[in-house]
Amino acid sequence: MNKRSSPTERIRVAVGVSSAGERASTTADVAGIPSQRAASPRPQAPRPREGRAGWRSTVVWTASAVALLAVACALSLVVGSYPASPARVLSAVLSPGQADVDTIVWHVRIPRTVSGLLAGSALGVAGAVMQGLTRNPLAGPGILGVNAGASLAVVTAIALGVTTAGGHLWFAFAGAGAAALFVYVLGSLGRGGATPVKLALAGAALTAMVGSMTTIVTLLDAATLDEYRFWAVGSLTRAGAEVTAAVGPFLVTGFLLALTVSGSLNTIALGEDMARSLGTRLVAIRVLAAVSVLLLAGTATVIAGPIAFVGLAVPHIARLLIGPDYRWIMPLSALLGPILLLLADVAGRWLVQPEQLQVGIVTGLAGGPLFLYLVRRRKVAQL
């Protein structure tokens, strides 16, 4: 049962959140954010209610995130089971030679760092878009059935013995796309078109159905299961340079779309009726947002496999830090996602040497309690 089923209820909730914010101010203007609809003749959307963060703290948090991301990247380049000093790694980065260290830096550590950067940003932003679009704090990029579709495609490819140069990455992408398309068509049927609730329900139904099919394939063949279980844990060591380069355009498009809709997500946060009355074109925004999530989540799955937790937690952390303005949540999520992934990956490298803990396992194991702590310590910003 949706607690926010009536329009008046929605507005009341929104207002309640607004009054809970402590120091409301016209932050966005001061920060010089270009208005999303400056040229529009329609009435301006109201400035989103501000959380506790003023613009100074927004800038400080964003700058801190940039710095922390730089640290995470540096750690990702330096930590590994092959012993190499930071100075030696630096020289390998700047002037690569033929030694083992150079091979490791260029063919192991840099690719996995790039994978972490891309997949982390994509997951963080996709989660933020999904939560904003559905106004559901539990929404994550997986809600469109993307991970489930990708998993089925990959497991089918494994079972059929298909091996390509890029591994099963393109199957993952095709599966993610097919699932998202199916969910979107299913969610669009009936009155009102593709509402977020119908999308989420269609996604949940598809995930259950496709999940069963994946289980069937893995149960039928132990060898397939054996290979699939390595795909099913998220990992940053899978994608090589050619893959990350190939998915780059999808990622950039997804990011741009997310930024484009971020202003409208602020008005959607006030309730859909309110948003509509303020001139937000809901259908167009929903389509753009869904395409953005597909591109971002699909790309992340292609690069790293299904990673569940990051897309859920990162937008919440961003919201806790800087408040509810999606125009800032998007870039901050793009920074926090890779920080989380890269630090988890680094931890996974030395925790169980000489083996490795895959990043998907570490984000769940370490990120879960951290997230719970944050949620308990500070009231989660409402959507």
């Binding site: 063919h107 091996t163 299961l225 279980r229 795909w231 990992s235 496999g305 083996e355 895959q358």
Partner: protein
């Protein structure tokens, strides 16, 4: 073990058990076979063609439907309470319905229902295969066949050991690239380690002894820098060493491994998971690995 008549309807699960049954000459008593990792050795191909075969493990119901009085298993997962393989129930639960069972001792866990974690490393050796052959030979009433198989294996392995005596022992890793960018390697407690030793090499991962199969990153492989890499291809009833070629190529063309001695010297060789399993195949495997490591001495 219940006493009485020798088992007449034997169900053999996994490569080592199936090959061992053929080697002992009890193929005509096989009520069913399941889960080959590779093509059986050429000398057993005709016999295998004549028996019922399932590519995956049977369910408990399907197993009992074959009406076996004895289940012979090459690995422990078949009887595990919690394992990756589909299980037909513990050995005790089979005994309750009158079905006796046997796990080849190099993979036999310390207690019924457990898996690899509880194998005593001291049991993972060629001598234990001989012991199994002798015991099963007595149980099946084919002692002479068992002795013949044992002496053939002893002779072939001893020949190889003589040929490689005193050589420089290259370091060898049994490697299989995983889907997530890690590499599965055979540890010191895997039977593969013994095959490498007897063939005149040392396992580059011999010091690891927590599990039979360990997944490591590319960095660990570069750090240990094996002289020779053997692949670990699996699992298909028609697979031969030739089918491991794609794995060889994948390792040779992996940019992260380009600096490995084994890759630079193109010393990456096709090898099968079946070849490193503890069973009557051991003689074949020792000869194969020795011919790869020391081509000048072993033909």
């Amino acid at each position: 073990m219940a006493t009485g008549d020798p088992p007449q309807r034997i169900y053999a699960a996994y490569q080592p058990a199936i090959e061992l049954a053929h080697a002992l000459g009890v193929s005509d008593r096989l009520a069913g076979t399941a889960f080959l990792d590779a093509k059986v050795l050429p000398e057993y191909a005709d016999r295998q063609a004549d028996v019922d075969y399932l590519p995956s493990l049977p369910s408990r119901e399907a197993l009992l439907q074959a009406n076996p009085d004895f289940v012979l298993s090459g690995f422990n997962g078949f009887f595990a309470e919690q394992g990756a393989d589909s299980s037909v129930g513990t050995r005790a639960s089979l005994r309750e319905v009158g079905v006796q069972s046997w796990i080849l001792s190099p993979l036999c866990p310390s207690e019924d229902g457990l898996t690899d974690q509880s194998i005593d490393p001291a049991t993972v050796k060629v001598e234990n295969i001989y012991r199994d052959l002798r015991d099963l030979g007595a149980l099946f009433g084919v002692e002479d066949n068992a002795e013949a198989v044992i002496s053939d294996m002893r002779e072939r392995i001893a020949t190889v050991e003589k040929q490689v005596a005193g050589v420089d022992r290259p370091s060898v890793a049994i490697v299989s690239p995983n889907e997530d960018g890690t590499y599965g390697v055979a540890s010191g407690i895997d039977f593969g380690s013994h095959i490498i030793e007897r063939a005149g090499g040392t396992n580059a991962f011999a010091d690891l002894s927590k599990k039979r199969n360990i997944d490591v990153g590319a960095e660990e492989l570069v750090k240990r820098d094996p002289d020779v890499i053997l692949t670990d291809a699996c699992c298909d009833a028609s697979m031969t060493e030739q089918d491991a070629r794609p794995e060889v190529d994948a390792i040779l063309h992996d940019p992260a491994l380009s600096g490995l001695t084994a890759v630079e010297n193109k010393a990456v060789h096709p090898f099968l998971f079946a070849d490193r399993s503890a069973g009557v195949r051991a003689a074949h495997s020792v000869e194969l690995v020795a011919s790869v490591l020391h081509p000048d001495r072993v033909g």
